[in-house]
Structure formats: C-alpha cells, structure tokens
C-alpha cells in the first residue's frame, strides 16, 4: 500500500512535467497548426534561466578570510552577501522562485520572437517541413546553451526551507515511514496550478474565448474583424512560458544539461499523441496517466515479471493507442485521424 501510494505520487510528479510540456505543444498545434519540435528546447532554455539567475546572483568578490591567520587566504563571497549580509544569502537561497518570476517575461519574449521571425512563415508549409525547421531550431538552441554553459549538468538547489522530505504518510494515516521530498510535492502543486491557470484563461476570459473560437474556425473569426493572428502569437508565447516555467521548476529535481530538452520532447510528443492531437484536456490527462504508468512499471515487482518494461512502456502505450484509436484518448472525431 505504501509503495503504491508513493509510486502514484512519483507518477503524478513526472506526469506533471509531461503534462506541462504537452499542454504547450497542443496549444501551438491547435492554434497555429504547427508541429513544434523545438518545444523541448524551450523547456531546456527555461531551466537555464534558473542557471543564469544563479550565476548572476552569485557574482563574487575575493575577500580575505579572517578565520585563517597565519597566511593570507582569500575566499569567494557573493556581492549580495557582502552588501546585504543575511538577506543577501537568503536571496541566493531562493534562486529558483526568483527565476520563476524573471523567466516569465524572458520566455514570453522568446516565444513571441520565435513565432514572429520563424514559425509564422511555416503555417502554410507541410508538417514535415515544420518538423524539420523546428528540429534545426532545437539543435541551434541547445548548441547555444552548450557554448555558454558547457556540456555538464549544473545542479541548482531548492530553497533550504523545503530541502527535506515531508512526512506525508502520517498526514493521511499511512505509516510514518512514507516520506516524500518537499520540492516534488511543490512541483506537483505547481503544475496543477499552472494547468488550471491555462484552462481558466482559455475558458473564463473573453480573450481565451476568442482564441478557442479561432481554434475551431479561424476563418469566421477573422471575418468578424478580429486579428486572430496576433492572438495566436500571444498563445505561442504563453506555451513557451508554460514550458519554460516547467523547466525552471524542474531544476532542483534534475540538474539541467543542454540535451535535456530533446529527451523530454520525445516523451511529450508521445503524450500529445496519446491524449489526442489538439485536445488540451487529453494532453493533460495523458501526461499524468503515462507518468503514473511509467512509475508503476519501474517498480521491482513489475520489472521482475516483464524485464525492461519501464524503459518502453510509454512508447508501447503510444503504439497501441495509435493503432487502435488514432485520434487519441480525447481527440475530436476527424481531427488528424490518419
């Protein structure tokens, strides 16, 4: 029971990341009709926003170490600590939450820039060409990151206050031995908040209503005198923000490296396909579902029955879904069925 509970949490956690990336992919596909292979790279750029923030906050000066008396020793101390003392180190400690705030405008800008300078010229071209050009863009983005930050993963830590584990078992009446890292709980909560944020934006605001109308019938919306293209650009920026935030929040869980985006991209594409191309709810549901499936299949009990299942379960599910129900779990009838 304990193990199952933990695996569900694990799965929801992983699924949160998948769902956030898949949500952006689906949004872009549903509005602009573009298959964006660079979306994983955007996730990665988000993660490196946090890395950059950390680098900026810890710009250091060499200060004489007073504790060493018999020779001159110097140690690196961040300026923030020199200027603000305890407050300064607290700021450095909270680098991930700070980067979240910073990354929103950055990612929005990046997304809009991408859409205006490149993606919009590919609306009318074939999906294959869209895949190819965004694949090239993904290579460029990740190589740029590699040039600036090197090829090794860069660890970023969560604020100290949430560094430990939560005794989650005792909250819900399971044994006290069931503990779960705080940050992962926060990540889960965060992904739920972001997802519901996106959904309420689309469902409860006039702006979102127009966007949905545009997804359903672009031409009619344009005939009504609405500049739908501008709104779709904003939606692309929004998708970039969602992916970027997912990346920022993921840094304490997995130290980011330059090809992290590619790894997530393949999985989140599978998620989109399973959920149904163009279905937002499908993408989210499939994200969590596949996350849970994956974490269950990596239990040793399961692995001893079918070895290696944890490595392929997601792809296997995708293959089965595509062959039996091509429009995906929640895809609309007739949308991209063949």
């Amino acid at each position: 029971m304990d193990a199952i509970f933990l695996q569900i949490l694990n799965g929801l956690d992983k699924g949160g990341a998948y769902a956030l990336i898949a949500l952006g992919l689906t949004l872009v596909f549903g509005t602009l009709g573009v298959v964006n292979f660079a979306h994983g790279a955007i996730f990665m750029v988000g993660a490196f926003c946090a890395v950059t923030m950390e680098k900026i906050l810890t710009i250091s000066a060499k200060v004489k170490d007073p504790s060493v008396t018999f020779f001159d020793a110097y140690k690196e101390t961040p300026y923030l600590e020199l200027w603000f003392g305890k407050t300064g180190s607290a700021i450095i400690d909270w680098v991930v939450p700070i980067s979240i705030i910073v990354s929103i405008p950055v990612m929005l800008g990046l997304g809009i820039l991408m859409e205006r300078t490149l993606i919009r010229y590919f609306y009318k071209r074939s999906h294959a060409e869209q895949i190819l050009v965004t694949f090239g863009l993904a290579i460029v983005l990740q190589e740029l990151v590699k040039t600036f930050f090197g090829a090794n993963p860069i660890p970023i830590s969560a604020p100290d206050i949430v560094a430990g584990s939560a005794a989650i078992g005792s909250w819900i009446g399971l044994s006290d031995a069931v503990v779960y890292p705080w940050w992962r709980l926060i990540y889960l909560l965060f992904s739920v908040v972001i997802i519901s944020g996106v959904f309420s934006f689309l469902n409860f605001t006039t702006y979102g209503m127009v966007v949905r109308a545009g997804m359903a019938d672009r031409e009619t919306v344009e005939l009504l005198g609405i500049d739908i293209e501008r709104r779709f650009t904003i939606v692309f920026g929004l998708a970039a923000v969602v992916a970027g935030l997912a990346g920022v929040m993921y840094t304490p869980i997995l130290p980011p490296d330059y090809h992290q985006g590619m790894d997530f991209l393949v999985l989140s594409f599978v998620v989109v396909v399973v959920g149904g191309m163009g279905s937002l709810r499908g993408a989210v549901a499939a994200g969590f579902l596949l996350g849970i499936l994956q974490s269950f299949s990596s239990m040793t009990e399961v692995k001893s029955i079918i070895p290696g299942i944890d490595q392929i379960i997601i792809y296997l599910v995708a293959v089965i879904i595509l062959l039996t129900r091509p429009r995906g779990l929640m895809g609309r009838r007739g949308v991209m069925e063949n």
Binding site: A128, F135, G136, F269, Y315, V319, M336, N338
Partner: protein, 388 residues
C-alpha cells in the same frame, strides 16, 4: 518535374561511369582538400549508403521517418556478432546485417505505416527510442550496454577456426577474403558497395515501382481511387531503406568493429534526415552530395580551435584578428553542430529542395541570362509561360 524520371539506358550508363570514376578516384582528387585519408573516405561511403537508402523512403514517398538509426544499430550489432561467432570475413556479416535489418524494418514498418504524416514520424521515433532504451538496459547480454559490443580474442569464430585461422596476437582484423577491412582496402570495399547501392537505387527511381512511390507522395488518396493498395509499396520501400541502413551499419562495424547503442538514438536518425535534405531529397545525387559535404565540413570545422583561427587571420591587424576569432570560435570545434543547425535551418527555409534545387535555380538563371541577348525582350513572356 525533374528529368530523372525518364532516363534512357545510355544515360544510366553515363551516370554509373561518372559516379564510379568520381568515387574510385577519391583518394586522388581529395588530396588538395586534405580529406584523402581512409577513415574519412570510409565515412563518406558508409553514410552515403545510409542516405541513399533513406532517400528511397523519404525522397520518393515523402514519409518522414525519425527511426532509421535503429536499423543502422541493428546492422552494426549483427555484424559484430557475426565477427564474434562466425568469421572475421565481412561477407556473412554484411549479409546477416542486411537481412536482419530488413526483418526489423518489416516489423516496424508493418505497424508504423498504418498511419501517415506526423503520426508516422512519431511512431518511428517511438520505435527507435524503444530499441535504444532496450539496447541500453534489458538487452545488455546482446548489446553489452554502455560499453558497446566489442571483439574479444577468445571469441568462438567457428568458421575461421574450422578453416584453421587462429588469431595470433591481439585482436583479429576484419577482412574480405584476405583484403583488410580497414584502411584503403576498406575504403575500396565500401566504395564498390556504394556504387552497387547507388545502381540499385537508380533502378528503383526509374522503375514503375519508383513511379508508384512518387505517386503516393503526390497524392495518396488519388492512388487508392485508381485501385492501388498503397501499403505494400510503402512497406517495400520502407524495408529496402531499412536494409540499406543495416548494410551501412555492418560496414561501420567492418571499419571499426565496435557497436554502441548511441548509434540508435533519434538524434542519429536526425543526422541522416539532415544529410538527405541538405543535398536534396528525392534526387539521385543529392543525398550523396549532402553526406559528402556535411561529413567533410564536420571533419574540417570540428578540428578548428582558437589558435588555428588566430593563425588563419594572422595577416590582419591584431585587434581585428581577436574580434574575428571571438566571433567565429563558437561555430567551430565543439560548436560545429551550432553551425550545422543554422545552415540546416536556412536550407529548410529557403531551399526546401536542398542543394540540388539550388543548383537547378542557378543553372536556370545562367541559361536565362545567356538567352536574353539573343532574343531580347520576348524571352520574359516565354519564360513565364514556360514556368507554368
């Protein structure tokens, strides 16, 4: 569209003669480019075969597969196993690798080809990723996981032992009935296989079968209405291109008997897509051209570093030298992939037909300019009608 569709036997012969001459004299004419060493030329040949095969699928039918590296990997593993178990002779290795890759392609193609468009791409991607993950984890007894599959002096090599060939000291070399599979002889083996592979691909391009594949690309629904069941044709094309990939994989194992799972990763599939598109998908020569140029540039640019750049610009004033070096250095050496990505994007944006399309455009432009003085004025209208 292109004149490759109708070709007389004489034209084909001409193609073959020219190509063979160009390929076989490579060690001579690559000398001034500094690329005439066997390792690099083998790479040209092997990836050329890979790209030719990929082109049969993508170039003719337009089905964008992101999983062909899996077949390359299967070919490599099979070849190394054949070296280990049977013989260091490359003939059984090549045959088994090609057949097994074909079988693999049949399985994957049978499932993936039920869908088209981006679903097909994602399905092939999923299968390739599955094979990659399995090769790293559960299949370690077969693939030797992260270390990669290597030869061992104590391997059985049944046929070799029967023939009385024992490994003397160190690891045995791959061979083709005594010809070594590495160095210049290795290059010539690859070159001859490439010529044969190109011939087969050319025959496919000009055959009724190739015509049907093209018809599938231009309009699959119309094909079905005409009464063709398109799937068998697609599956055949998929299997053929998978076998080409397996062949290339086995040749990779011949020149360097070591097979690793990273050859199966989807970025490796991306590489062959890149090479094919770069040269021109759907043309005969394009993929070879793309492979040659990309592999050559990779070799040149990844060897650059700051000091080489400094030397190159040493004729300039110091400050300009420093600036230029600073600008260029992110794009060479380790950053060569960045340059490749940018060039690839430019190609897809401005020249979706690859270098071959660029060549066609330029030659048309030159022809236009030549004609203009001859019949000035009227040629414009002629051409605008001719284009349509």
């Amino acid at each position: 569209m292109s004149n490759t569709q109708i070709a007389t036997p004489r034209q084909e012969l001409l193609y073959m003669v020219v190509l063979s001459a160009v390929v076989l004299t490579m060690p001579l004419w690559l000398q001034p480019f500094g690329a005439a060493y066997p390792d690099l030329m083998q790479k040209f040949m092997i990836f050329g075969i890979f790209a030719i095969g990929y082109n049969i699928l993508f170039g003719l039918t337009g089905y964008l597969s992101f999983g062909h590296a899996a077949f390359l990997g299967v070919g490599s593993y099979t070849a190394v196993w054949s070296f280990k178990l049977l013989s260091m002779n490359v003939v059984p290795a090549i045959i088994f690798a090609t057949l097994l890759a074909g079988l693999f392609a049949w399985l994957i193609g049978f499932v993936s080809l039920r869908r088209s468009g981006i679903y097909f791409s994602i399905l092939t991607l999923a299968f390739a990723q599955m094979s990659y993950n399995l090769a790293y984890s559960v299949l370690t007894p077969i693939t030797n996981g992260e270390t990669g599959l290597q030869l061992n002096q104590a391997d059985p090599r049944v046929i070799d032992r029967m023939a009385g060939i024992e490994a003397t000291s160190g690891l045995p070399n791959t061979n083709l009935f005594g010809l070594e599979g590495t160095g210049y002889t290795g290059f010539y083996i690859c070159a001859i296989i490439l010529i044969v592979a190109f011939f087969i691909s050319m025959r496919i391009f000009h055959s009724p079968f190739g015509m049907k594949l093209r018809a599938i690309k231009s309009n699959q629904t119309r094909m079905s209405y005409t009464g063709y069941n398109t799937r068998p044709y697609l599956l055949t094309a998929f299997i053929i291109s998978g076998m080409y990939a397996g062949l290339a994989g086995s040749l990779l194992a011949m020149t360097d008997p070591l097979a690793g799972a990273e050859r199966m990763q989807w970025t490796a599939s991306g590489e062959v897509v890149l090479m094919t598109i770069f040269g021109g998908a759907g043309t005969l020569i394009g993929p070879l051209l793309g492979t040659g140029i990309i592999k050559y540039l990779e070799n040149i640019f990844s060897a650059f570093n700051d000091s080489v750049l400094h030397n190159m610009f040493s004729f300039l004033p110091d400050w300009l030298n420093d600036i230029l070096t600073a600008i260029i250095s992110p794009f060479v050496g380790e950053g060569w992939q960045l340059l490749l990505g940018i060039v690839f994007m430019l190609i897809v944006i401005f020249l979706p037909g690859g270098l071959m399309e660029g060549y066609g455009k330029i030659s048309r432009m030159i022809r236009d300019r030549r004609q203009k003085p001859a019949d000035d004025g009227s040629s414009d209208t002629q051409h605008s009608t001719g284009e349509v």
